[in-house]
């Protein structure tokens, strides 16, 4: 328990710093090649995690990530600088996903591959925090991976956006095209399902971060 709580601070330091990415975005618009590669490398990582939570195949996830980066680049001048970058990026990602599903064969709602292999969640959990014992961390990864697999695709997106991207409920609602109330209800249900499947520490871990986003 103590390990999880001390992890919380360092965990949030690891969450994508969207304010910093927005600065890089401005540099990218000015034509700075170095900022562009930095920005898109960060976006690639975030988007890869998002897509891997929604499609069953790793290759599909990678293809969608590349397509989404291209869409962001071609729509770069349409971004309203007064609005948050994460909402805009993940809205494009959601639309890319919708395009992918359009005309494609339906996928099972539960991913075929274990979430243990989910790189983004793994990375999010591999926090260099000396206070978290390795065996506890391994157990946490296993529990979380198993529990996320039972969630519905949209619910996985909600957990992903809140936990690994640090999005607020209002931002998640905008990205997924839902109302804030509906997102909160879905988040609550996802959180209930996680509670039923997770035991002890892993549940507290989710509770801490998810609870933070629900505020």
């Amino acid at each position: 328990m103590v390990g999880y709580i001390t992890t919380k601070k360092s965990y949030f330091n690891q969450v994508q710093d969207w304010a910093k990415l927005k600065v890089l975005y401005l540099e990218y618009l000015r034509g700075d090649a170095h900022s562009t590669s930095q920005l898109f490398a960060a976006l690639e990582k975030a988007l890869h995690g998002f897509f891997r939570n929604r499609v069953s195949s790793i290759v599909d996830g990678e293809d969608l990530t590349q397509a989404c980066l291209l869409k962001i680049h071609l729509a770069r001048a349409q971004f309203d600088l007064k609005k948050p970058l994460n909402t805009w990026v993940f809205t494009i990602a959601r639309n890319t996903l919708t395009d992918h599903w359009r005309g494609a064969e339906p996928e099972p709602s539960t991913p075929l591959e274990s979430f243990d292999s989910d790189q983004d969640f793994q990375e999010a959990l591999q926090i260099p925090d000396p206070t978290l014992p390795p065996d506890l961390r391994a157990q946490l990864k296993f529990d979380l991976g198993a529990a996320l697999g039972i969630l519905k695709p949209d619910d996985r997106s909600i957990v992903f956006l809140c936990v690994t991207q640090g999005c607020s409920m209002a931002e998640v609602a905008e990205i997924l095209g839902l109302t804030e109330t509906a997102t909160k209800v879905r988040a609550h249900r996802a959180y209930e399902r996680l509670r039923r499947h997770l035991k002890g520490g892993a549940y507290i871990f989710i509770l801490l971060f998810f609870g933070e986003a629900l505020k």
Partner: protein
């Protein structure tokens, strides 16, 4: 660094150095319009009078300015730039109607039977000018300018079609309005989808190497 990021970085670097290229390609575009418009004339009666040269001259200047709106390296609001391009294109189209009608210019339409042969001739000349412009613009967008999105591909296709109208305004001075509508504007309407298709093919060729074969390219064509 993944292929798509390399592609994006290359595109960004292109947009930084697009000014001189826009000037050069714009000059090529103007040359092609003038060469087809004046080069294929049957006679040069009144061809170099100010009243006849002014409207196509302004049209060509507007079309050249449109290239700079597209290759704007400061990435100003796209909505504003696209709206400005539409205004430029509409103004250019209206200018094609402003040449004064004279006896000389109307003479070739005096036997009414010559209306359709003249229209067919102008459509051919317009197609030639539009095709040249389309190749120059496509070449620029493929090799020198940042990759255009769908909205800009539509604008560039419109620019290529209007280049044909500008060439015809130089070629066929102060004709009947009915001839302008049918032949000059008609060729632009006929050529527009072809030019857009060319832009789309070039765009696909550009993005194909960075995406795997499994990617749904059909959806990406809406980019």
């Amino acid at each position: 660094m993944s292929k798509s990021i390399q592609f994006i970085v290359r595109d960004v670097e292109r947009s930084r150095r697009s000014f001189l290229k826009s000037v050069t390609l714009g000059a090529l575009l103007v040359l092609s319009i003038v060469a087809v418009g004046l080069g294929l004339r049957r006679d040069y009666v009144d061809a170099f009078s100010t009243r006849n040269l002014l409207p196509p001259g302004v049209m060509i200047a507007l079309l050249w300015a449109l290239l700079f709106l597209f290759a704007d390296k400061k990435n100003r609001s796209e909505k504003l730039r696209v709206r400005a391009s539409l205004i430029l294109m509409t103004t250019a189209l209206i200018l094609s109607l402003t040449q004064p009608h004279t006896e000389t210019s109307l003479m070739k339409f005096t036997p009414q039977a010559s209306f359709w042969p003249e229209a067919a001739h102008c459509i051919g000349v317009g197609f030639l000018a539009s095709a040249l412009a389309s190749l120059i613009i496509g070449f620029g967008a493929f090799f020198f300018w940042p990759s255009p999105n769908r909205r800009w591909r539509i604008v560039l296709a419109g620019l290529a079609s209007l280049s044909g109208v500008a060439a015809l305004t130089l070629h066929c001075m102060g004709p009947l309005y009915s001839h302008t509508f049918v032949a000059h504007w008609g060729q632009a309407i006929l050529f527009f989808p072809l030019s857009f298709l060319l832009q789309s093919i070039l765009f696909r060729i550009a993005i194909q190497p960075i995406l795997s074969d499994r990617t749904n390219i059909k959806n990406l064509s809406r980019l």
